[in-house]
């Protein structure tokens, strides 16, 4: 344990509902400019609309030519765009020697949902075609995001995809951290990508009856549920030693990772299960609860998540729970499922780097069961030495990461 290398973040990229690159994301995150709007679909001669946080104005031609883009589902296009930004930002040139010691490990909840629905529509819809597009399978496979990044960036080391619903990105980044520490490779692109603002997916979420009719207001009185989002965020991770040796800009230290399984209910979060993941993350980097200044919450805006997460923080942090700040960036960019943890990692890194807690927007007032400091509606400048980022997935799979100020 003593000799484990410290891992740092030296490159960041994002394509999100609140910005198509890191500077735009940062500006809107701290200004509290949300990206929740609505999306509509024609259905049986009507238009059906849903609240959603879509990525608007994304120009894939900035990242690949049209022939290449045709091979990728939108989720992979977003993944490649964010990964290219992160590599450029890191200042690294991946020579064949470096590329072999570089990994790509990314998360997604569902993979190529746009492709899947398009093909079903063509095949099964009225007047449908008896054939589907020949690229249906390579576009929709869940590992397409990682595969396409490896091809676009020329990464020839380990590559795979992690799927654990809403915790996919945190699990992907967390296992990358541990593998980097173990010396399995020297650097990695990691993060998450998701794009499933499709009619079928939105109807599926609607049927679960956990969706808000308008906006997402986590931890707030009168909150009415989630709003789906999409996007991708990717990071370049490497050891502190290698970053310092090449004089790289270091955004933050990626200090710890903890996980747990509830082994209880499919959709209802469990206090003890989630708390175990937080405790394990603190243990992983030998921190005490008092060391944490800020938590980027899972904060979905559902009644049960937000009160359970509040109880988790109280259970783990005791008296310190009232002193730390906790906010949900899902209020701004919705719940991007397998990309959520990565978008929120970016928000967490920026919070630590800028000493500023991003706000929970759309907050109307306190809920008696949610009585912590949620940084309502406006960002707050405050010292943030160390922060947590929580993801608690459907299926009871929990994952938490720890971000420290750059050494």
């Amino acid at each position: 344990m003593q000799n484990q290398p410290r891992i740092v973040i030296t490159g960041m990229g994002v394509v999100s509902p609140i910005g198509l690159d890191v500077p735009a994301f940062k500006k809107n995150l701290f200004a509290g400019n949300g990206g929740i709007d609505s999306v509509g679909f024609p259905y049986r001669s009507k238009e059906v609309r849903f609240p959603a946080a879509a990525v608007k104005g994304f120009d894939v031609s900035k990242y690949m030519d049209a022939k290449k883009a045709n091979l990728l589902d939108r989720f992979s296009q977003l993944a490649v765009a964010a990964a290219k930004q992160a590599l450029d930002d890191s200042g690294l040139t991946l020579t064949p020697e470096l590329a072999e010691r570089t990994a790509v490990i990314t998360g997604t909840g569902v993979g190529g949902q746009n492709t899947l629905e398009d093909s079903y529509m063509k095949l099964l819809g009225d007047g449908g075609s008896p054939r589907v597009h020949p690229f249906t399978i390579p576009r929709l496979m869940a590992n397409a995001g990682s595969s396409q990044i490896s091809m676009a960036l020329g990464i020839t080391g380990p590559g795979f995809t992690v799927a654990s619903a809403c915790a996919s990105a945190i699990h992907a980044m967390g296992v990358t951290l541990h593998m980097l520490r173990s010396g399995l490779f020297d650097r990695a692109i990691t993060g998450g990508a998701e794009s499933c603002l499709t009619f079928g997916t939105l109807k599926g979420w609607e049927a679960l009856r956990v969706m808000a009719p308008d906006v997402c207001r986590p931890f707030s009185a009168e909150r009415a549920g989630m709003v789906l989002g999409e996007g991708a965020a990717m990071f370049m991770l490497e050891t502190l030693e290698s970053a310092q040796a090449r004089g790289a800009k270091i955004y933050a230290e990626f200090a710890g990772f903890g996980m747990s399984s509830d082994a209880k209910d499919l959709t209802t979060p469990d206090l003890d299960g989630a708390a175990r993941a937080v405790v394990n993350a603190l243990k992983d980097c030998r921190l005490k609860p008092e060391d944490i200044d800020y938590i980027n919450a899972h904060g979905t805006g559902t009644r049960i998540n937000d009160l359970t997460e509040t109880a988790v923080v109280k259970q783990v942090f005791g008296k310190h729970a009232k002193k730390l700040a906790l906010s949900s960036s899902k209020s701004m960019f919705g719940h991007a499922l397998g990309a959520a943890g990565a978008l929120e990692m970016l928000a967490t890194v920026l919070a630590v780097r800028e000493d500023k807690a991003p706000p929970t927007i759309n907050y109307l007032g306190p809920d008696p069961e949610c009585d912590l400091d949620y940084v309502p509606n406006e960002a707050r400048s405050m010292p943030i030495r160390i922060a947590l980022n929580n993801s608690f997935a459907f299926g009871g799979l929990n994952a938490v990461v720890v971000v420290k100020k750059a050494p």
């Binding site: 049927a207 679960l208 009856r209 956990v210 969706m211 808000a212 009719p213 909150r223 009415a224 549920g225 209910d265 499919l266 959709t267 209802t268 805006g301 559902t302 009644r303 049960i304």
Partner: protein, 86 residues
Amino acid sequence: MTQVDEILDIVAQKAMVDRSKLTPDAKLSDLNISSLDMVEVIFALEDKLGIEMPFNANTNSQEFKTLGDVIGAVEKQLAAKSGGKT
């Protein structure tokens, strides 16, 4: 078959609970019917009875504690539906 019987049959089938245990005053928690079970029960009630129930698992405005609460909510929607037709 009465309307209440029809509703309870659907609950029994979807929540996989012994039909003989289902009475209007029975508590959902005693019957081991979870909130996720209720999502499926309500979906089936809506489908079979041609109604829409304003049920959001996030708001306290429609919290079902007993089977009677469920029956009452269904009857309200059935009444609204037939009222709408006249």
